[in-house]
Amino acid sequence: MRGLRKTYGKTTAVDDVSFTVEPGEIVGILGPNGSGKTTTVECLQGLRRPDQGDVRVLGLDPRHQVATLRRRIGCQLQDAALPDRLRVGEAVRLFASVGDRRPDIDALLREWGLREKRRAPFGSLSGGQRQRLFVALALVNDPELVFLDEMTTGLDPTARRDAWRLVERVRDRGAAIVLVTHFMDEAERLCDRLVVLRDGAVVATGTPAELVHRHGGGLTASFSSDLPLPVFAELPGVRDVRRHGTTVEVTGEPAVVLRIGHLLVPTGHVPADLLVRQATLEDAYIRLVGDGTQDGTQDGADPPTRGDEPGTAVAR
């Protein structure tokens, strides 16, 4: 997709958005509410007509070859349900009828843990079961590219982790995935590459690690020391030095922590309270899209200092 632009009346939803997705890759699209994530995805799915830009999906133009395209992609849409009285097996049969081959519906339901729910109406399913059904429906015709739009919003933590495993299984089948999400831990865990949108424009792309490195603000080491601040500020790679009471806080490149050690050990003042905090994807995201005055509600649920989060190191 190159130079995508879409306006609704006077509002420009997406302006000059470009990115690519390679086969077997999970690309995450991040951004605050209203940043154009869903519009971007809907242009790729052929649900909306871009005003400008060159969009190619699997070599097809969603504007003119939408029928062919939709047989080769799978879609999990945000806020799109099924009729309450439609049963699980019936839904799968209906969505399977689009494809040229007849898929093994029993096997699919078994794979996604829905076999015993085959005769259950959609309205009786739990949130996690609905998500599993939606993913199964997105996959029923063996798509080459799968769109998952906010698939874990509203799920409890266990169901979210189950959903992540599903996404990884989809990728393991060889499909490329475009994942729209609000959750940094989800993006970090699943995505090979990220596209960050703000106000309809791309503000950053790269692997999660690259984004953390480039935009996360670096590493912060804090420890007690009575040495004067300029001693630390002169170290190579240091960007910022502050003092809070007896605690010194040094921010900079990762190697800074070694420089500090090198400085302190010979003096015999080895601080017992050394705390090193690596920037997280959330830090990078907040720096990229702003302080979250227009968003941040979803992200606030995931404090950045949780010990089990990749990229967060707590050392003594």
Binding site: Q45, S97, L137
Partner: protein
């Protein structure tokens, strides 16, 4: 679009229709209540003055009118409720994104609605003959043609309602209200001749009146009513044009 999409869409629409109690009550049960009430009140004695019932007996007058009510309940209640619900909950968007064309869904609703209306019409006609003594149709083919044209037109009108009304609840409320208004004013309740002038004029403008007349003419006299058939066809064509324009913009 392959054939399997059409048969699966039809199957699903049929199952969902049969699981919707309001639809079945209005399409099958209420028209029977009408037969009992109106048949019980008027019997089949022609009006001695010849001013009401178009010169035929009450139950002869009402039997084609009952059929029109079945078509109206399918077209104005069940189809819009289902379609508005699909739009409200994103079902249509999900289907569209998965390569299930909206046209297949609408075609299935049309086919299933027509089927349900046919069953309802047969039931209500049989019931009318069982409980009363109406004269049989002079030209059954003309009645069937009027029924098909009229039901398709009302279902297309229902698709327009479903494409415009925001929620299933709104569609069901509007549909039920409309159905009762049509019942009272359209010629399937009190004879139009006894209505006050203003109500009679409104009744003549409802989409039910042309169907009632198009069904009654071949039934009573064996002659078709091409004017009313054309009005019905126009209602259907305009509704379809507006609905497809509205759905494309969704």
């Amino acid at each position: 679009m392959n054939g399997r999409v059409l048969t699966e869409s039809g199957r699903v629409e049929l199952l969902l229709l049969l699981r919707e109690p309001v639809t079945l009550v209005f399409a099958l049960a209420l028209p029977i209540v009408n037969v009992v009430v109106l048949g019980g009140v008027f019997g089949d004695q022609p009006d001695p003055t010849g001013e009401v019932f178009r010169g035929v007996g009450g139950s002869t007058y009402y039997t084609p009118a009952y059929i029109s009510l079945v078509a109206a309940s399918v077209g104005l209640i069940s189809v819009p409720t289902q379609l508005a619900g699909y739009r409200e909950r994103g079902v249509l968007r999900r289907m569209r994104a998965s390569g299930l064309p909206v046209a297949a869904v609408l075609g299935a609703q049309l086919a299933v609605g027509l089927g349900l209306a046919a069953v309802g019409a047969a039931v209500v006609t049989a019931f009318s003959f069982l409980t009363n003594d109406p004269a049989p149709a002079e030209d059954p083919v003309g009645v069937v043609v009027a029924f098909l044209v009229g039901t398709v037109a009302l279902i297309l009108l229902g698709i327009l309602l479903g494409a415009v009304l925001p929620t299933a609840r709104a569609a069901q409320g509007a549909g039920v209200l409309l159905w009762f208004v049509l019942l009272i004013l359209g010629g399937a309740g009190p004879p139009p001749e006894v209505l006050p002038d203003a109500m009679g004029t409104v009744g003549a403008l409802t989409p039910l009146r042309p169907l009632v007349l198009a069904l009654q003419d071949p039934w009573f006299s064996g002659s078709w009513n091409p004017g009313m058939l054309a009005v019905l066809a126009a209602i259907g064509a305009v509704s379809w044009a507006l609905a497809s324009w509205r759905l494309r913009r969704d």
